[in-house]
């Protein structure tokens, strides 16, 4: 058979296939779910691509490749056969028919004609790929009062994609006495599968952006990490691991093969390998020269200076506010600009202290691998948000708590493999370590897909450990939070992994010492998430300035719940408990700051003074002060080496009016006061 005849066969076959593609495409609009139909169209296009390549018709081959790519995405469910896509494919099929006819008549096809179509097909294949986004939506509490219904927004998301998973969190809902029905306390985590861009998702939230925290980030597909062939063969039970190892050992390196075949000498191979090594080092050097190492002391000094600039700014602001005239208005305008630049400088200087969490996160890969081996559980660790940055100081202090949480997840969270299989869960357990920034906070979450916290077990344990007297009236949240109580451990037998009940209380203490908060979300058999909320930085905090006698002190806002002036009848002295105040039927210990700090106060009677209610380890304490002065950002400076470490003071700062004030260490003060009471 000569080439002419072969080409004839190819053309006949191609025409037949083109007919099949056309019929299939017309059918697909009616039944887009028909996988066999999509498959048959794909096969037809694939055949033309292959055979045209064989006949040296590379332009036709390339063209059909574009069609094939779109069909492949459809076949894998990543692309929905919408009208636009089907029409494009039909158009392409018509052009393909013309191409084949040109080949048949011996003419030459003008391929420049289809450039536009090819780029359109390429963009379809790229753009329309379905991606998953995780959306964290913490709506502003006043949404209802702004006439906005949050569920409509979630409905709107359904218009641009498929909601794969949605969870509403109610952990911020207060107790009934503090509940305000006009406030919105819920937040949502949503997993959205869509072919749209991130900006289009953002648009849905257009009217709720103000005051809400919205974070949208793409979720990388875990299935993209396709295992090596050997691993897959072992998993499928085709061969034993030893066989793969043995086979791999017989595999020769490329260099060795070439030398054996006499295509190159070993010297030549060596020379090129050396060259390769050099360029590897070069590229490594390139990747590190974009950073510069700076002495931490210099950096801290810079942070200090910028801190002082922030103070000068507040002094300036106070001055302008107290000099109300026409000039002041103008000055205010200029000052606002200065302040904006100042804020930028402050932020970028603070960012110098920031490090990505990735380095710390990746240390856990090893930990998880080792621990899962010793516990004979199959566990994979998924890390997201490794580029999220945290203050160096915070990062250092967060590592130990994270080790603890991950150990807990492996030891208590993830079930034995058999148990997982019996429950119909994937044999391999998953721990998801993630970090993300929302507003002024960074969240770090350790999420496992294990058995979830056992409410009853925790209750029993807490009862027997004497942490509570009865479980009645406790909400699920309150029960789960018992695991943070000192002396609590549910491990029935002590293991070498998660220790001996010196766990979660220490974790919580560490997080709180960083002004952070820790939350639990858990669902039976679905898993547990421990969420840690951390401030972006330790050095600058929001403070409440209060007056006691002649002095001014700063109380970190993060530990303040409210401030009030109690009624005379609500101040009582209880046996063994000392002074308390009744706040909406809750008795809160009253700590007289002037006594603890040993300075004279102006107002001794609580009903003439102010009580700042703070929280520490889930208990409330009222701090008695003379006056509230205001709220401002303060830069904490440590008191220096000359001062011995004092328990009740966290540091010093300079106020807007130039005065020096001490920043109170609330946990320290509560500690001192409760100890004094016990004695």
């Amino acid at each position: 058979m000569d080439i002419e005849k072969l080409l004839r066969v190819f053309i006949d076959e191609a025409v037949e296939r083109i007919g099949e593609i056309e019929d299939g495409l017309l059918e697909i609009e009616k039944s887009p779910q028909d996988m066999e139909l999509i498959n048959s169209i794909f096969r037809a296009a694939h055949t033309i691509k292959g055979s045209s390549g064989t006949f040296g018709l590379s332009d036709i081959s390339r063209f059909t490749h574009c069609m094939e790519e779109i069909l492949d995405l459809m076949r894998n469910g990543k692309l929905i056969p919408e009208k636009e896509i089907v029409n494009t494919l039909l158009e392409a099929n018509d052009i393909l028919k013309e191409m084949i006819e040109t080949v048949a008549s011996g003419g030459s096809f003008d391929f420049s004609r289809c450039e536009g179509l090819v780029s359109r097909m390429k963009s379809l294949a790229e753009k329309k790929e379905l991606r998953q986004f995780k959306i964290i939506f913490i709506p502003s509490a006043d949404l209802f009062r702004r006439g906005i219904e949050p569920t409509i927004i979630i409905e709107d998301l359904k218009n641009i994609g498929e909601i794969v998973d949605i969870q509403a969190y109610s952990d911020e809902v207060p107790t009934l006495s503090e509940f305000n029905p006009e406030e919105l306390y819920l937040r949502w985590d949503i997993l959205l599968r869509t072919d749209r861009e991130e900006s289009e998702i953002k648009e849905v939230f257009e009217f709720v952006e103000d005051g809400s925290k919205i974070k949208i980030f793409p979720v990388t597909d875990a299935e993209k990490d396709i295992p090596f062939l050997g691993q897959m063969l072992i998993k499928e039970g085709v061969v034993a691991p030893e066989d793969v190892d043995a086979a791999l050992k017989t595999q020769k390196r490329l260099g060795e093969i070439l030398v054996e075949e006499g295509k190159a000498t070993s010297e030549e191979i060596e020379r090129v390998i050396a060259k390769q090594r050099n360029s590897k080092q070069e590229s490594f050097k390139k990747s590190i020269t974009s950073t510069i190492r700076v002495d931490l002391g210099k950096l801290d000094h810079l942070v200090n200076i910028v801190g002082e600039m922030v103070i000068i700014h507040s002094m300036f602001q106070q001055f302008i506010n107290s000099n109300g005239n026409r000039e002041a208005e103008k000055l205010d305008l200029i000052f606002n600009q200065l302040q904006r630049i100042g804020k930028d400088i402050q932020e970028s200087v603070m960012s110098l202290r920031m490090l990505p969490v990735g380095e710390v996160f990746h240390r856990f890969t090893r930990l998880v691998r080792e621990l899962s081996e010793t516990r004979n559980k199959e566990i994979e660790l998924i890390i997201t948000g490794e580029e999220t940055e945290l203050d160096k100081g915070v990062l250092e202090k967060i590592t130990d708590p994270l080790v603890h949480l991950i150990r807990n997840a492996i030891d208590h969270g993830i079930e034995e493999t058999e148990e997982r299989i019996a429950k119909g869960k994937p044999a391999r357990g998953r721990i998801h370590l993630s970090a993300f920034q929302l507003g002024d906070s960074v969240y770090i979450e350790v999420e496992d897909d294990g058995r979830g916290l056992d409410r009853e077990k925790i209750l029993r344990k807490a009862l027997s450990a004497g942490l509570i007297n009865s479980g009645e009236g406790l909400t699920d949240d309150q029960i789960f939070n018992l695991i943070f109580q000192p002396g609590f451990s549910t491990a029935e037998k002590v293991t070498d992994i998660s220790g001996r009940g010196v766990g979660m209380d220490v974790v919580k203490k560490n997080i709180e010492s960083l002004n952070g908060k820790i939350f639990i979300r858990t669902k039976p058999d679905a898993g547990t998430t421990i969420s840690i909320k951390l401030p972006l930085t330790l050095a600058i905090i929001d403070g409440l300035t209060v007056g006691i006698g002649e002095e001014v002190f700063v109380i970190p806002i993060s530990s303040v719940i409210e401030s009030l002036r109690p009624e005379r009848c609500n101040v009582k002295t209880l046996n063994e408990k000392g002074e308390v105040i009744n706040v909406r039927d809750e008795y809160i210990p009253l700590l007289r700051l002037h006594e603890i700090l040993d300075i004279p106060a102006m107002k001794i009677k609580p009903w003439e003074a102010i009580v700042v209610v703070t929280s520490h380890e889930d208990k409330k304490y009222g701090l008695l002060v003379d006056d509230l002065i205001g709220q401002q950002q303060v830069v904490i400076k440590n008191l220096g080496n000359a001062m011995p470490k004092v328990r009740d003071i966290a540091g010093g700062t300079i106020l807007g009016d130039g005065r020096v004030a001490l920043v109170l260490d609330v946990p320290g003060i509560i500690d001192i006061a409760t100890k004094a009471l016990m004695n």
């Binding site: 006439g147 906005i148 409509i152 409905e155 257009e206 009217f207």
Partner: protein
């Protein structure tokens, strides 16, 4: 039951355009020519949404939003303002007063309906 939308604008042509578009989309319409007129018309009526212009005689849109947010019946009702590109500060003021959303003039009927649908179903 069709949802009722209150349209407040001193410009007759604008009112008619919005009214026509929304009637076509299946909404009931109540029209008012300024804030004071609007407050009179909401009395005793069930209003599911308000669309208001900002610059109007007698009582402007901002003041109307403030008043509606204080009234028992419309505290939680969606209010959308009609703004222009150059009214950025007015828009901010409106948001502070309690507006739920905004549409920037000029807009197409399709844009109008899609914004309305963001608030009432």
């Amino acid at each position: 039951m069709a949802k009722t939308v209150l349209i407040v604008d001193d410009s007759t042509s604008m009112r008619q355009m919005v009214s026509f578009t929304l009637k076509d989309a299946g909404y009931e319409i109540v029209e008012a020519v300024n804030g004071r007129d609007a407050l009179n018309k909401v009395n005793g009526r069930k209003i599911e949404m308000v669309i208001t212009d900002l610059n109007m005689p007698e009582m402007d849109g901002i003041e109307l939003i403030r008043q509606l947010r204080c009234s028992a019946g419309l505290r939680f009702t969606p209010i959308v303002m009609l703004t222009t590109e150059s009214q950025e500060s007015k828009k901010e003021e409106g948001k502070r007063a309690g507006a739920s959303g905004w549409i920037v003039k000029p807009f197409t009927p399709e844009q109008l309906v899609s914004v309305v649908k963001k608030f009432v179903r």
